[in-house]
């Protein structure tokens, strides 16, 4: 189930936005965190991660900035915009509702 692309598509935005909630991160950082936190179950290839980031940026939910740090190649850091924060709230809520709904229907909560 973890590898189901349909599932990934619906939740990918929520995952990325959640990871950016506390601090700005670059693309590799985001992908590594998803990989680690999912215990290796979830993995985004660059070919899907970056278009997703650009789409979110175009929506105005996140904003990317090139940051140069000493003795490092410059990296593009993405951070959440106020609108992104609202979107995240909405997505979290609807995710909770969705999970609750699934649970109620399947009776998993009581099981």
């Amino acid at each position: 189930m973890a590898q189901d692309p349909e599932w990934k598509k619906g939740s990918a935005e929520l995952l990325v936005l959640s990871l950016l909630e506390d601090q700005p991160r670059h693309g590799y950082d985001i992908s590594k965190l998803i990989h680690i936190r999912s215990g290796g179950a979830l993995r985004f290839h660059v070919t899907s991660l970056y278009p997703l980031l650009h789409r979110l940026e175009k929506n105005g939910w996140i904003v990317g900035r090139w940051v140069e740090k000493a003795e490092q190649r410059r990296r593009r850091y993405y951070s959440l915009t106020p609108r992104g924060r609202e979107a995240l709230r909405a997505k979290q809520q609807s995710w909770k509702d969705f999970v609750a709904l699934i649970n109620r229907v399947t009776g998993l909560e009581h099981g």
């Binding site: 693309g27 590799y28 992908s31 290839h45 070919t47 899907s48 650009h54 593009r76």
Partner: protein, 905 residues
């Protein structure tokens, strides 16, 4: 370490991202992959495993394509069809070329606009001229099979080019006895008849024609009917008329009940039986009559003038128009008619001796004696318009050349990818033909407005020929547009496609235009300057010619003069009544304040027609058509004083010259000189055509202009009105002040003397001269417009090419200024470059102008082809404008900041 950038770039190439998206994405992905590979290796993977694992990230590149926003991708169509070596089908290629042309116009709309406007002016000028030529010369008569029509006319031995009418009896003999025409019709010259309406009398121009006139020409009626051979029936002819379509519209408001309407013409009631088709104005080039009347009616309508019309073989009245039988050539027709003429000369030697009759193409008579001149002027006009178009073409070619510098690289790439040169040329030509067609549409629009303007400047009588923007004109515009596209497109197309691949790829971005291209551009520019100089000189020559023409002494005094045509005969006056009317009017007008004198003459100034048949006592009898043609002018007492014609010898007509006294005449110096060189003409005797008695010469008048302004001297005989009563005369009034102010007072005096008498043709002396020089003035106006158009186009071309050169040489100019060249130095350098091209152009243009001036010499009056004033004037105008066109880019060059220019380079 793997260069992930390189890897990513290769994978992304397929996605056709915009350059900025591609470079950012490459950097981001490469960074990501580098991090991943490093982490994998530090996590214990081997280098190969890490590489494989990292590379697999890029496996599904199409996911990336699906995710990439559309705005981040390049447009679907290639800006340039790559390579394009293999053509699939002609129409495929054409469609692609058209799309390409459309795109290249959209990307550079200002360029396209300038090109289309320039071409529009050039094509518009040509279409306008073609419309004129088409109307006047190429297809002037809206009749069936006009090429079968010929003119049949009498020619004198001395002036074989002057076509004269035939007498009615002779005409009917030709009509009945020829074997070459399926129909031979006759028409008399137009005459103004008095149309009596309840309000006032008005003139109507009429043409008396034989009954078979309409059937021969193959012209039906727009409404009602035309008359046929039955109208020739002797006895009491039908009083019928066919109306000009234009007259019907303009003077009768297109009234539906015009057929059957009765008109009172010269006291005769004439019934309109039909209207001729729209556009038909008879065998006339420019102006037609208001009405066509059967020739059989001529005696009823013009009793005093035409009493002998039907029987007198020596009274020339009818021009013949014949429809040649199928298979008969003009030469055969001429031979047949000449043989008949010889027979008639034998049968009626008194009237016909020495008369030869010829057959000519109908075009030779459409403009009377001026037909050749009209055609010559047409050719000149067409050439001038052609020159304007040539300038426009070379201008556009130069613009395309300048732009092609930027495309050199593009073309080189495409050649490198396998496009054939022919394919490239074809593509570029498609583009220029598209531009040509757009220019052609603008040109048609301009031509339409031009023709409206011309039509608006003609009097609204409805009888003038109307220009038509018909299918022929549209076809002409289409052809000329396509041809233009080819002409201006060929040079740049060849030059661009000639691009050596490697050379162009290396240098194109930086080097600007090659030496070859500058040479081509400069040659085009020199050509433009030469052509516009040619047109300016020609225009100046004509302008000077007109100035000179106005300075001619016509032999009469045109200032303070005003003339009025009256026709008491047409109002039904009998002879004594007419003479009393003349007497009464002269006295009433002379009494007006501001009038110095008034007198009568049968001829309008500059409208006299010479007649043949003057007989000089003691010389053998001349045939009516030989060189003895003379102006005959019947004048009242006081004419010479009023008109300003000087009596050099002898005396004027006086009270003692009565109808019963000795018949007398006054001749002009030319006549006296021709017949009695070195002898005194006074006391000699002459007999004027149509008279029985000899007249004694009592005076010699100074030779004046009689038929045209600045004409070669003509012989003239003056007769006293008292001894030669005429039903129509022209009143000459000499005023103290402005003659135009006196017109209404004189008109009132005339209508007080004869309320029914029609007054027409009111003109001041100045208007008479202007009218006589009308063609020349139109010519000058058109030439000036075209000359200025050419100058404007050439200046834009000069400006454009210099501005381009300056922009290309910014670096060099910057360097010069950094090395100490002052602003004036740079200014001089650029201006000198431009002006030296102009100088070469002027020299070439001058040589061409000398040649053209010689060709045009017969249209020029009193100026030579190398008239220094015209040449200097044209050079001054051209030089001034060219200097400005050079100065603007030059000043721009001096504004170049050396530092900026050098850094840019």
């Amino acid at each position: 370490m793997v260069d992930w950038r390189q890897v990513v770039r290769t994978r992304l190439a397929d996605l056709r991202l915009t350059p900025s998206t591609e470079s950012e994405l490459t950097e981001e992905l490469a960074q990501h992959l580098e991090d991943l590979e490093r982490d994998l290796q530090s996590g214990g993977a081997t280098r190969a495993e890490a590489y494989r694992e990292t590379l697999s990230e890029l496996d599904d590149i199409y996911e990336l394509r699906a995710g990439v926003d559309r705005s981040q991708c390049m447009t679907k169509h290639e800006a340039v069809p790559v390579g394009d070596a293999t053509s699939r089908s002609f129409f495929d290629d054409l469609q692609r070329d058209l799309r390409y042309a459309g795109r290249s116009m959209r990307t550079n709309p200002v360029f396209a606009l300038i090109v289309v406007a320039t071409l529009g002016l050039g094509i518009g000028a040509n279409t306008t001229v073609f419309t004129l030529l088409n109307t006047l010369i190429l297809s002037p008569m809206p009749v069936s099979a006009p090429s079968e029509l010929v003119a049949v006319a009498s020619t004198g031995t001395a002036q074989p080019n002057t076509l004269m009418p035939l007498s009615y009896p002779n005409f009917t003999d030709y009509q009945n006895q020829n074997s070459v025409f399926s129909g031979l019709a006759g028409y008399a010259r137009m005459r103004a008849l008095t149309w009596q309406t309840r309000a006032a009398s008005q003139p109507l121009l009429t043409e008396f024609v034989t009954g078979n006139y309409f059937p021969t020409l193959g012209v039906g009626a727009a409404t009602g009917r035309t008359f046929g051979p039955e109208a020739d029936a002797p006895g009491d002819p039908q009083a019928v008329a066919v109306m000009n379509y234009g007259t019907w519209q303009a003077r009768f408001g297109g009234a539906a009940d015009v057929v059957g309407q009765q008109l009172h013409l010269n006291n005769v009631v004439v019934t309109v039986i039909g209207v001729a088709p729209q556009g038909f104005i008879g065998v006339n080039g420019l102006v037609g009559p208001d009405l066509w009347l059967p020739f059989a009616m001529v005696e009823r309508l013009l009793p005093s003038e035409m009493r002998t019309a039907a029987s007198d073989r020596s009274k020339p009245l009818l021009q013949g128009v014949g429809r040649i039988k199928a298979g008969v050539t003009i030469a055969q027709a001429r031979a047949n008619v000449s043989a008949l003429a010889a027979t008639l000369a034998r049968e009626y030697p008194d009237a016909n001796e020495g008369e030869t009759v010829t057959v000519r193409p109908i075009a030779d008579v459409l403009f009377g004696g001026g037909s050749k001149m009209v055609r010559f002027a047409g050719v000149v006009l067409a050439m001038v318009a052609g020159v304007v178009l040539l300038i426009a073409c070379s201008n556009v070619a130069n613009l395309l050349l300048a732009r092609s510098a930027a495309r050199q690289q593009e073309m080189a790439v495409r050649v490198a990818l396998g496009a054939s040169r022919a394919r490239l040329v074809r593509q570029l030509l498609t583009e220029s033909v598209c531009l040509g067609l757009l220019g052609g549409s603008v040109g048609l629009l301009l031509a339409y407005f031009g023709m409206q303007l011309l039509a608006g400047s003609l009097p609204a009588t409805g009888t003038f020929t109307t220009s038509r923007l018909d299918g022929t004109v549209l076809l002409f515009a289409l052809l000329i547009s396509v041809a233009t596209g080819f002409v201006f497109g060929t040079i740049p197309a060849l030059s661009v496609s000639r691009a050596g691949v490697s050379g162009a790829l290396k240098e194109a971005r930086t080097a600007g235009r090659s030496a070859r291209k500058v040479t081509v551009a400069n040659s085009l520019l020199v050509g433009q300057v030469a052509l516009s100089f040619l047109l300016l000189v020609t225009a100046a020559l004509f302008l000077r010619s007109i100035q000179q023409a106005y300075d001619i002494d016509p032999g009469f005094k045109a200032d303070h003069l005003v003339v009025f045509i009256t026709n008491p005969g047409q109002a039904g006056y009998e002879d004594p009544q007419t003479m009393a009317f003349y007497q009464d009017v002269a006295e009433r007008v002379a009494r007006l304040p501001e009038v110095e004198s008034a007198a009568w003459a049968s001829n309008m100034p500059l409208f006299a027609r010479p007649v043949g048949g003057l007989q000089v006592e003691g010389r053998p009898r001349q045939s009516p058509t030989d060189s003895s043609i003379t102006i005959v002018n019947t004048v009242s007492r006081g004419y010479f004083q009023t008109s300003g014609v000087v009596i050099e010898k002898g005396r004027e007509f006086a009270e003692l010259d009565r109808p019963t006294s000795l018949p007398v005449a006054i001749v002009n110096e030319k006549l006296a000189q021709d017949y009695w060189p070195g002898d005194d003409a006074l006391g000699k005797r002459v007999r004027v055509p149509g008279e029985q008695e000899m007249r004694e010469i009592i005076g010699v008048a100074r030779t004046a202009n009689y038929s045209a302004w600045g004409e070669p001297p003509q012989r003239c005989v003056y007769l006293p009105l008292e001894q030669n009563h005429l039903p129509a005369m022209t009143l000459y009034v000499r005023t103290k002040g402005d003659p135009a102010q006196m017109v209404s007072a004189v008109e009132r005096a005339i209508s007080a003397a004869g309320p029914q008498v029609l007054v027409s043709g009111i003109r001041t002396g100045q208007q008479v001269i202007d009218g006589s020089l009308f063609q020349a003035r139109i010519g000058v106006a058109l030439l000036s417009v075209f000359g200025l158009l050419a100058l404007g186009l050439a200046s834009i071309g000069l400006y454009g090419i210099l501005a381009y050169t300056v922009s290309q040489r910014q670096r060099e100019i910057g360097l010069r200024m950094a090395l100490g060249a002052s602003h004036p130095n740079v200014l001089r350098m650029i201006v000198k470059e431009g002006m030296s091209l102009v100088a070469i152009g002027v020299v070439i243009g001058f040589a061409a102008a000398l040649l053209a001036g010689r060709l045009l010499s017969r249209m020029l009056y009193g100026v030579g082809a190398a008239d220094p004033v015209s040449v200097a004037g044209a050079a001054l105008v051209l030089g001034g404008v060219a200097l400005l066109a050079c100065y603007l880019p030059a000043r721009w060059a001096t504004r170049v900041d050396p530092l900026v220019a050098l850094r840019q380079g």
